[in-house]
């Protein structure tokens, strides 16, 4: 081995603590790339192949009822490559040992060779036209309720209890993320997809020879907007509710949201770690080269070239990357697998698995090497530029000047040791600033991760404790007369009922339009209220519309504007209405109006779509059981149960999340503070030894050494709060908002935890360095020149 290589190994060994801490940050960067980015890629691959195989539709359109004959007309639209018509309904499922009925989404399944969004069979067989009371059900629902082929599923369809035999278990690309309408999270036990043959469903739901949903695939060059416009025109006479593309398909929308978030976090978090790597290598190498200036001079005097010397110090940086890569690839691949498994709880694909791609590993290593070189460059340049003769002379004493405290006249109030600390920080403002920034990133990462839980917590609290205060919420199979309120009120256990009406509409202003629904409620409703993100209750106006901010932004309307409202049912009237207020609410894209005004708008008899109920029972299960068996009722839900379920799922992912966040944040904090303290010890070992000789105790000297890093840490914490808040804001702005909006709230507890973790990391780092300080040889330090 060449002598210079021997020196490299010994120097590396001598600085192993620092090298290891940097390697840990590199490892974390590589780990986050491989796990987050790798999960993203795995999801994209699984999605793309599934969408392709299953002929995932490009356009969906729902309508009241159209004859099958219309299909030919739809196939004629330019750009359409395939058409599939369907019959779909919601119905209650009566499950054993369940008080509240579950909701089944019944969908007709075409022949596997022509079905768009074709099912992927997990077990059993596909239903045929001869299978009258036989169904296929979604895998998650089957698993949650322990259904297997041969079991019987009881459904209440049009008021009649039917026994359906399960003959197949399948998954569908349109329900990869299976959320009931209006919910945010899958509820696998209480929401299932049920597929029947077209013939069977037609007879059960009185839809023989007719359809109420049509899906299309389009040519890659098709004009999507144009196709949807033509489709809407064809379906208009048949109660068409408007068309939508993939971007509004619920399951796909949730998946896209998740992917987008995943991609951004998978870029931002590794970038933070790599920035820390560059910074640490910069300060560590600079210090190392300062202490080795005489060695460098000797090497140069012996004829080693600048390239030799430059490469020597560059290898320091690259060794840290190499060590980090070995650890990072191993843990990253494992963590990626764990994350993909967690995703399987939410997203169902036939072939979702984590694969460690060589390309991604190469990419992760490449960006780490770049970060290391960027960081090392400053120090390496210093070594190269060192003239040999000058390097042989000892370094001139560090120059200090009176700092800001002297200029402010505050110095006389400070202890000399305090002045030492402050002047050391002031003398290298850039280094101190970057150290602070590094520590503040550790605080910020924790806040960025934790705020999600705070925000979602707030969202759920507002939604279920302020906005939806009902005990139970019911929807009807079809609209009922307003007399249904009294019928409901007579049921034992119903304390009060507030009726609502949902009417599908198309709202437009100028050339901008959106299909939506207007919810009509009575003026004084107490159970269900309109609430904004600050928890303010917005009263229902006498006349005019209250519009969600997200929808208002899309339509570019402000309060006082008049919008065109086209009712997509009944007589399909179209009227101009005033937007009286815009509410920054948290879920969906809602439009509200006074139910009396809504009746007037739609015309015809006054009808209602469902009700919010307050129950007089302590436990609402008895009531929901009664309601679930009523023929007119399509679904019974309990917001409270949804909340509890959500809470349970949330706390599971929260613990895993917090565990990793604390790890990430500690790695940054420890590596920055530890290296800062090690460098301070190396630079000021002589000072500290002098102080010991002058009679300072070990403790006093340690306090002096750590005060500097301690002050930087204290300074960094509030900056970290602020950066964390900005990150949180960025995420809130980035997350698409059609389904729900996470309010930007950071709880005191989150600030507190991030602070505690960082301070603990600082104390830990000091503890390690303190052992080194205690073993310092006073005499030999003082006998040598700098």
């Amino acid at each position: 081995m060449k002598a210079l290589n021997k020196k490299l190994f010994r120097d590396l060994w001598h600085h192993r603590g620092q090298m290891f801490s940097i390697a840990a940050v590199v490892a974390t960067a590589i780990m986050t790339v491989l796990s987050m980015r790798g999960t993203y890629e795995s999801l994209v691959i699984a999605r793309d192949s599934y969408y392709h195989e299953s002929r995932f539709p490009d356009v969906w359109s729902n309508l009241e009822r159209a004859p099958e004959l219309l299909r030919g007309q739809i196939e004629q639209i330019e750009g359409v490559t395939a058409v599939d018509t369907r019959v779909t309904f919601a119905a209650s499922l009566d499950l054993d040992d369940r008080d509240t009925p579950a909701t089944g989404r019944f969908i007709s399944a075409s022949d596997p060779s022509v079905m768009l969004g074709a099912l992927h069979m997990r077990s059993g067989r596909w239903v045929t036209g001869r299978d009258r009371d036989r169904v296929m059900i979604s895998e998650k629902f089957a698993l949650a309720n322990e259904f297997i082929e041969g079991d019987t599923l009881r459904a209440v369809i049009n008021g009649r209890l039917r026994n359906l035999e399960i003959i197949g278990i399948a998954i569908s690309p349109e329900h990869s993320y299976a959320v009931p309408a209006g919910a945010l999270f899958p509820d696998d036990a209480n929401y299932g997809i049920v597929w029947m043959s077209r013939e069977a469903i037609g007879s059960v739901f009185d839809m023989e020879g007719a359809f109420n949903e049509v899906v299309l695939t389009l040519a890659s060059n098709a004009d999507v907007e144009g196709v949807m416009l033509k489709l809407n025109r064809i379906l208009e006479p048949y109660g068409g509710l408007g068309s939508y593309g993939r971007e509004f398909q619920l399951s796909n929308l949730f998946l896209e949201n998740e992917l987008k978030q995943n991609r951004t976090m998978g870029t931002a978090i590794p970038a933070i770690f790599l920035a820390v790597v560059a910074f640490l290598l910069n300060i560590v190498l600079r210090r190392l080269i300062s202490t080795q200036r005489q060695e460098i001079a000797v090497l140069k005097a012996f004829g080693y070239s600048n390239v030799d010397i430059g490469l020597f110090y560059l290898q320091f940086a690259l060794t840290a990357v190499l060590a980090g890569a070995v650890i990072g690839i191993g843990i990253g691949a494992w963590l990626g697998g764990v994350m993909v498994e967690l995703y399987k709880d939410y997203f169902v694909f036939p072939d979702l698995h984590y694969e460690l791609s060589a390309g991604l590993v190469a990419f992760a290593i490449a960006i780490s090497v770049i970060a290391a070189i960027v960081g090392a460059l400053g120090g390496v340049k210093k070594a190269i530029n060192l003239p040999p003769a000058e390097a042989m002379r000892p370094q001139a004493p560090a120059r200090f000047a009176p700092g800001i405290f002297e200029r402010l006249g505050l110095a006389k109030y400070l202890h000399s040791s305090t002045r030492m600390v402050l002047r050391n920080i002031e003398r290298r403002p850039i280094k101190s600033l970057f150290s602070a920034l590094g520590v503040s990133f550790s605080v910020a990462i924790l806040i960025t991760g934790m705020f999600m839980f705070d925000g979602v917590d707030r969202l759920m609290d507002l939604q279920f404790n302020v906005a939806q205060r009902e005990d139970l919420s019911v929807t009807f199979n079809r609209s009922l007369g307003i007399g249904s309120k009294f019928e409901l009120g007579r049921i034992k256990g119903v304390a009060s009922a507030e009726m609502f009406r949902m009417v599908p509409v198309r709202i437009s202003k100028g050339h901008r339009e959106r299909e939506s629904g207007i919810t009509g409620r009575a003026l004084g409703d107490e159970l269900s209220r309109i609430v904004d993100s600050d928890g303010r209750i917005i009263p229902m106006p006498l006349k005019g519309l209250v519009v969600s901010k997200v929808l208002a932004d899309q339509l570019e309307v402000v309060p006082g504007d008049r919008v065109q409202v086209e009712v997509l049912e009944g007589a399909r009237v179209s009227r101009k209405l005033e937007v009286v207020s815009i509410v920054d609410d948290l879920m969906g894209m809602s439009v509200y109006m006074n139910i009396v005004e809504l009746h007037r708008l739609v015309g015809g008899p006054r009808m209602v779509s469902g009700a919010s109920l307050a129950s007089s029972d302590l436990d609402h299960s008895q009531l929901s059981g009664i309601l679930g068996k009523l023929p007119a009722i399509a679904s019974v839900t309990s917001p409270r149960k949804a909340f509890d379920l959500f809470d349970e799922q949330m706390s599971k992912s929260m613990y895993i999340g917090i565990f990793f966040l604390i790890g990430f944040s500690s790695i940054i904090a420890v590596s920055v503070i530890y290296n800062g303290a090690r460098i301070a010890l190396s630079e000021r070992g002589r000072e500290l030894a002098s102080l010991r000789v002058l009679g300072f105790s070990k403790r006093e000297v340690a306090v002096l050494l750590f005060s500097e890093q301690g002050l930087i840490t204290l300074f960094a914490i509030p900056i970290g709060w602020y950066i964390g808040y900005l990150f949180a804001q960025g995420i809130v702005l980035m997350v698409p908002t059609e389904t729900f909006r996470i309010p930007l709230v950071v709880d005191a507890g989150t600030y507190f935890l991030s602070t505690v973790v960082t301070i603990a990391a600082a104390i830990g780092s000091f503890w390690i360095v303190r052992r080194r300080l205690n073993n310092y040889d006073l005499i030999s330090v003082l006998k040598t020149r700098d």
């Binding site: 560090a398 200090f400 000399s416 002047r423 009679g695 300072f696």
Partner: protein
């Protein structure tokens, strides 16, 4: 340093007769008896002190003369509470240094003894005045830092940082810092080692003035025989032993010292 594997061979060697010397009624500050210091360097053991007896008396200037490796610095470090003997006892007044723990040694350094090193060891981030304050802030009965700096002739340079001072000036700050706590004894390790003759004389003059004005006992380590003329007593060391003790009836004026 002299290497040796068997110290007993030296046990009955001739001792330099320093202990019996009495400085006409002055009180002893240090009394060291039978000092051995052996550094265990793994494969080899290095004997730095071999059975040394040593005394230092109130108000005297003692010059410890010896070549590099003669053991003089080891002796000084033990007297200063920076190091402990392997064997033997050291007493400062009624404190037995050889039996003190780290805390007691720290207190001892803080209250009783001042150090001056060859390489000044000032704190670069503090001005001359502040370097002195560093000590006065932790002492029981210090002199004002200004007074200490005046004593070494630096009243005009008090607000300068070390980087703005010459070597001689830095060394005088180090002396001011060492005496500001009014120590009974000042231990100086090659105080002029890094300085030229002219500057060295100024530094030695400062030491002499401290001794005259404050009555502080001073032990100066040097390999420079010329300096021995300024001492009341000169102890020569070689190979870890005291080889010779000389008493100067009269200290030579610094102007006559040349090197």
């Amino acid at each position: 340093m002299t290497m040796e594997s068997d110290k007993s061979r030296e046990a009955d060697a001739e001792k330099a007769d320093t202990a019996s010397l009495k400085m006409d009624g002055r009180r002893q500050i240090f009394e060291a008896r039978g000092l051995w210091k052996i550094y265990d360097m793994g494969e080899v053991k290095v004997t730095a002190l071999r059975d040394v007896d040593f005394d230092l008396f109130d108000g005297e200037i003692l010059v410890l003369l010896g070549a590099s490796g003669s053991g003089k610095s080891t002796l000084l470090n033990i007297l200063g509470g920076l190091d402990k003997p392997t064997e033997g006892s050291v007493r400062y007044r009624d404190i037995i240094l050889s039996e003190s723990d780290d805390f007691q040694l720290t207190q001892y350094r803080r209250k009783h003894v001042g150090f001056v090193f060859q390489f000044y060891n000032l704190i670069p981030s503090l001005t001359a005045r502040e370097n002195v304050e560093l000590v006065t802030e932790i002492s029981d009965d210090p002199m004002p830092p200004e007074e200490a700096l005046e004593l070494v002739g630096l009243e005009d340079r008090m607000d300068h940082f070390p980087a703005q001072l010459s070597g001689g000036e830095q060394q005088r700050v180090a002396i001011a810092r060492a005496i500001a706590k009014r120590p009974n004894v000042l231990l100086c390790d090659e105080p002029t080692g890094a300085l030229d003759l002219e500057t060295g004389r100024i530094v030695l003059r400062a030491l002499e003035r401290v001794n005259e004005d404050l009555g502080t006992a001073i032990a100066v380590i040097t390999h420079n025989a010329a300096i021995s003329a300024m001492g009341d007593r000169v102890i020569q060391m070689s190979s870890g032993r005291i080889s010779k003790t000389i008493i100067n009836e009269k200290r030579a004026p610094l102007e006559e010292i040349e090197w």
